[in-house]
Symmetry: D2
Subunit: 156 residues, 4 copies
Amino acid sequence: MAPRRAIAVIGGNVADDAVARLAFATGQAIAQRGAALVCGGMGGVMEAAARGARAAGGVTIGILPGYDRTAANPHIEIAVATGMGHARNMIVVASADAVIALPGETGTLSEIALALTIRRPVVALGGWRDMAGVKIAESPIDAVAIALDAAAAAGR
Amino acid sequence: MAPRRAIAVIGGNVADDAVARLAFATGQAIAQRGAALVCGGMGGVMEAAARGARAAGGVTIGILPGYDRTAANPHIEIAVATGMGHARNMIVVASADAVIALPGETGTLSEIALALTIRRPVVALGGWRDMAGVKIAESPIDAVAIALDAAAAAGR
Amino acid sequence: MAPRRAIAVIGGNVADDAVARLAFATGQAIAQRGAALVCGGMGGVMEAAARGARAAGGVTIGILPGYDRTAANPHIEIAVATGMGHARNMIVVASADAVIALPGETGTLSEIALALTIRRPVVALGGWRDMAGVKIAESPIDAVAIALDAAAAAGR
Amino acid sequence: MAPRRAIAVIGGNVADDAVARLAFATGQAIAQRGAALVCGGMGGVMEAAARGARAAGGVTIGILPGYDRTAANPHIEIAVATGMGHARNMIVVASADAVIALPGETGTLSEIALALTIRRPVVALGGWRDMAGVKIAESPIDAVAIALDAAAAAGR
C-alpha cells in the first residue's frame, strides 16, 4: 500500500483574517478530498490550515522546528519534531505530493524554491503569482484540485 | 489539544524471524494502546512493527532517509521524507514520547544515544540490556506499558 | 578569538563563461580581503568562486550535500560532508557572515530566502535585482565590499 | 586537488583536567601531522582539542549546533553554523576522514555509532574500550597515527 496522499500548505506564521480564512478553507478541502495536510506545525497559515483540516475530519501533520512536540499548534495530530530549525522547511515540502503556497515571507519563499528544486508541484493561492514555475489557483477548492491533479500527473 | 501520543520502535533494517515477531507484536501493542507508531519507514524491524500496528488499526509514521515518499515500506500511512540520510535518526526519536529499542546495529545504537541525549525514555526489548540509562522490558506488551508510563512520568 | 570572517558565494551548479568569470573574481576578492569563501562545494558558480579564492591564496570551505568528502570540486580545502541534500543550503548561508548571490536557479533562490530569514545580509551580483531585501552590487569587488560592510554593520 | 585531510575529535562538552590534557595533546598531534581538526565547536573536549591544534599552528573546524557563528569556542578558525542541534553530530563525523573518541556521554556515543554506520574509522582514547568496531589507542600520538593509517587504508 502506498502512503496516504499528502498536500502541504505553506505561508506566514502570522496571518490576517483574509489569509487565515483562505488557509482554513484550503485545509478543509484537503481533508474533504481524503488527503493528509502537512505544514510547519506552528501559527498563522499553518494553524488555520490545520484547524480547517481537523474540522473536516482530516489528518494533520506538523513538521516542527524544535524537539518539543507540545509546541505544535492545537490542531496538529501528528507532531514530527525535527530540531532542525529552518532546515525543516525542506522536510515540509518533501513530505507532500504537492504544495499550496499562501502569502508569507522569506520562509515561505524558501519552501517554494525548495519544492521546485525537488520537483514537487507548487500551487499559488492569494499571492506568489509572479513566481516562475508555480500554478495559479483562484480558490481553495481550485488549489486543492490543481495540487492533486499535478501530484497524479507526476506519478505521486 | 495535544498531538497524538507516539512511540518509536527502532532496530535493524534486517530482522530474523524471532526479532520480526517481537517487532510485530510491539507495533500491535502500541496501536492497541491508542498511540501512533513512529519508525524509520524502511525494512526489518521498522517494517514488522508497522505491519503490526496497521494490523491492529493503528497509525504508522515513517521518517524516511530520502526524498521519495514511495520508498516507505507498505505499512506506512504517514510518510515523512527528510532527505537527510542518517541524520533522520534524530528525528525518529525526537518525534516520539518514548522509544522502544529492538536488536539492531550501529544505526540503532545511534538512535538510543540520541534519544537519551534529549531525554526521551528508552525501553530495551530483546537486546541492549547493558546500555546505561535504558529500561528493560520482558515482552512487547511490557515494553509498551513501560514506554507509556515513562512518557507520562516525563510529562509527555 | 572570533572565527575567521566568511563570505558565501551562491549560484547555479552550471555557469556560462560570463557568470564563471564573475564568480572567479568574487572568490578572488574575498580572499584578497582576508575572508574565507563558503560555498556548496560542487560545480558551476561554486567551483569558479573556489578557484578564484584559491588562486588568491584564500581558504575555501565546501558544504557538500553528500557524505563523500572527495565529491568536492578540486578547489575546496575544507570539505564539510553533511549528507543532508538540499537542506545543506541552510548551512551554506548560516556559515557565512554575508552572502553574495550570482545567477542560479531555484536552489540559489532557496539560499537567498533562507539567508534573509536568519538575517544574513545578501548582495546580488549579475542577477536577482528584483528580490526584496537584497543589496545590489555592480562588480565583484563592489559585492565583497558591500558584503563585508553589511556583516560589520550586523556585528559580525 | 583533494580536500585537506581532516580528523574529528569527539568527547564530552565538560572535561576534567586529565581528559582536557588528552584532548589538547590530540589536537596538537593532528596539527603536527598536517591534518585539520574537526569538532563540535563547543566546550570541554572540543575546546581543549581546538586549543591544542591552534597551538601547533593547525586549522580548526567547528560544526556548531546553532546559527550563531560567534558561539564557537575561541580556538575555532572555521565556524560552520548548522542550526541542526544534535543532528549536527552526523556532520561532525562525516566531515572527517577518521574519528578519535575521548570520554564523553550519550552525545559522544551517538557520534561513534554514526561514524561506524558510514564506515568512518573510529579510534578510542581514554575510554570506549568495550565498543565493538573501534580501534584502541594508548596515547594521543598513537591515536592520530592509527586514525591517519585507517583513513589511508580506507582510501581517504
